[in-house]
Amino acid sequence: MRNTIGKVAVLATSVALLAACSSGTTEETTSAEPSSSATETSSGIDATGLTLTVWTDENRQPAIEAAAATFEEETGATVELVQKNFEDIRADFLAQVPTGEGPDITIGAHDWLGALVEAGVVNTVDLGASASSFAQVAVDAMTYDGQVYGLPYSTEAVALIQNTDLVGTEAPATWDDMIAAGEESGAERAFCINVNGETGDGYTMYPFQTSFGAPVFVQEGGSYTSEVGMGGEAGEAFATWLSENGEKGAGHISTTVDYATNNTLFNKGKCAYTVAGPWALGDFADVNFTVNPVPSAGGETAAPFVGVQGFYVSSQSENALLANEFLTNYIATTDAMQALYDADPRLPAFEGVDTASAPFPDAIAGFQASAEQGVPMPSIPEMGSVWDFWNAAEAKIIKGADPVKTWNKMITDLTASLEG
């Protein structure tokens, strides 16, 4: 008797395991069912609505939900919103569109565009009747090789943030003016900037680099070529400047400062000025600040990288018509753009969005001014190879390595790597 119970128990556990195992497979395959059921309805007999799958992240979900509700009401189609981590969307979109499991529409950043085009996973879009309402820099950013691939909705860029109790609200015209004003204010540091510790951060430093006329890639008619543009005299001048203000020089720029440290220093009033993006504002609760464009260090305009966010349509979408309809007539409207802004205040790329509702309405204007003098972050796939070399060289120069030699070696290595 005991024997039997034992056997039954063993059997039960193993069957339970089996069940768990096979239910695992079920789960995997049923997740693909929406697409298959969509295929069934395509026979045309029963047109009870198609499903448009849209990938979004947590912050933007409520806003897109609102636009989707109107769309569902007016067209009868169903919009399935899939919430994902923003950081995962790029890789997942690249991997899943070719397998046919991808969405019809996804939210995304413009600097993914080169990789998306190279993988052939995005379709071109037409901004439609409201094309003129989009900020030009945003449309440029979503343009690749002369074709528009995404519907932009927001822009973002770093800007100069200054402690108004220490240095007032007036924007400094040059780097030297800023340092002088900062030192006069009696702050512990005139200026601090995130260098991402030992890693280096070419992104935050970029406005200063462009003020020396050394863009990462040579620009031709609005789009970037794969020719490295930061070599030569302009680049060397920037490297020398970086070294002069680095740890062995004036000490304004230091590898001991990373993102969190920088925000803490500024928030405690220990820095008069810093360069940061709108995403850092939440950390500046204890300080009065204002936002201005970054001052020039090398004489030319200090142009920060402008990042743009928008919507992409999958090249493998079976609902391309519906997807374009949704984007051009339900997202590219003032109401939908306002809803997106209210859900997650980023600088709007669409005319007519009221920014007064933001937690820092004045700051938004400052960031807008900074973005207007910015350049789109390169979206060519080659940019992926740049960061490593570029950041590391800047970190080394800041730490006191020979600026010209280090910079030129970086240019040589980078060029060799791009030619691969």
Partner: protein, 532 residues
Amino acid sequence: MSTDTAEQAPAPNKESLARGLTGMGWGFVVKLLLMMVVNALGVAGIMAAWNAQAWIILGASVVFLVAADWVYFSRRALPLKYIYPGLIFLLVFQVFAMGYTAYVATTNYGAGHQGTMEQAVDAALIQSEREVEGSASYPLAVVRDGDTLGFAISEDGVVEVGTADQPLAEVGGSVDDTGRPTEVAGWEIVERGALLSDQELAQQVTDLRVPVSDNADDGSLRTREGSTAKVYRSSLEWDEGAKTLTDVDSGVVYSANEYGTFVGDDGSTLPAGWYVNVGFENFTRAVTDTDYREPLIRVTLWTFAFAFLTVASSFLLGLLFALVFNDERVRGRKVLRTLFILPYAFPAFLTALLWRGMLNPEFGIINKWFFFGADINWLGDPWLAKFSILFVNLWLSFPYWFLVCTGALQSLSSETMEAAQIDGAGRWRQFRSITFPLLLVSTAPLAIASFAFNFNNFTIIYMLTNGGPRFDDTSVPLGATDILITAIYQISGVAGGRADYGLAAALSIVVFVVVGIVSAIAFRQTKKLEEF
């Protein structure tokens, strides 16, 4: 008790109960019910796989299900009844994952080679179709005549209709204020509602190109959302038979090469490619690239040093504490032991980030509190960075060895110790000749496992130094604290978003083989320990 009864009288009805599992007893009923659940789930899975057209999953599900039925209903497969569930887990989670990695290693799957050839052609055609400059946006009516679809637009109030084969031509009809045709002679207008709810029709409409005139260079009308049309022109033409794309403007013919890229006869390439089998090329590339060879040798040496020193130092420190706190004279042992295990309880990546902050030369508390504010650049100097990695990893992993050694010490028999004491062995002698060798028997396999784990300890390197500081004398983005797995992450471009998964898979297999060999040799050596 039971053996007694069995010897006394092998009662026939008892026998039949014992066999109930295979006969018609209640055990069989339970089995039948459970197998019904298994079969129901299995069939559901198969049907879902059929719907999703996932043929491999379908095939595997069928095989697994049939095998399960055979195993649990056949009398001949008794051992399999126990190991079958485990076997499936082994196949799905281990063998499949390894096999798939090996498969990816023989392809060039990665940035620019992500889909199939058809998808690359699709992408090339999408990317080459451009709006004709100065094209107006026409309010559009989609029209049909039987199965033929057409576009109707109006120019200066005159309705024009065209189809895929017939260029735009004037027909009778009327338009509304916006210029959208409302009536088209000889054609039936397809309502937008009907268009949007019929996926097949919508697809046909998005694929439809209506030539503007007889001259193909004038371009053709297309619509994206079904209510407006613009003139577009495609510069590439796909030849299905020859598998070539031709640029109609420059005459360049793009044909497929063996790496899954379209190469033109002028040497230019198209951006989108597809993945193909490249054989062992990824493996040879990993060892023949001269830029990488020398830095990779340094990285390999450091990987071995890091894995070995981490295991050795944390083992010794853990053992020391275990010995000390195993002594009954120590007070509050339980509290102290709990405190010692704390570092083990934090997630490793959090600990690494915390230490990264504490080791900051200017703001970190290590320099401030312990080195009187000296400017020691812990993570910026190659040797100090290596030391910091080892130190932080020691802090992270000694509690594990403390736990393991405490357990092993407590399981040593006190009789052996007493015998040694009677024989007159001192404390050191006891430890060296008895405690330590006996301890090694139970801990050596764990040490080997720990070595294999640290060999691929991506977290600590990535979170603490990210491989830095960079080598000054090489042209590749590797650094003094990079171990093989972080080097693979860098080399294969996964870090920068230009991933070459084929190369990454090939290098991972190489690392797997290395770890496998080292572990195999080490396990063989530890067998000798058991001879004590």
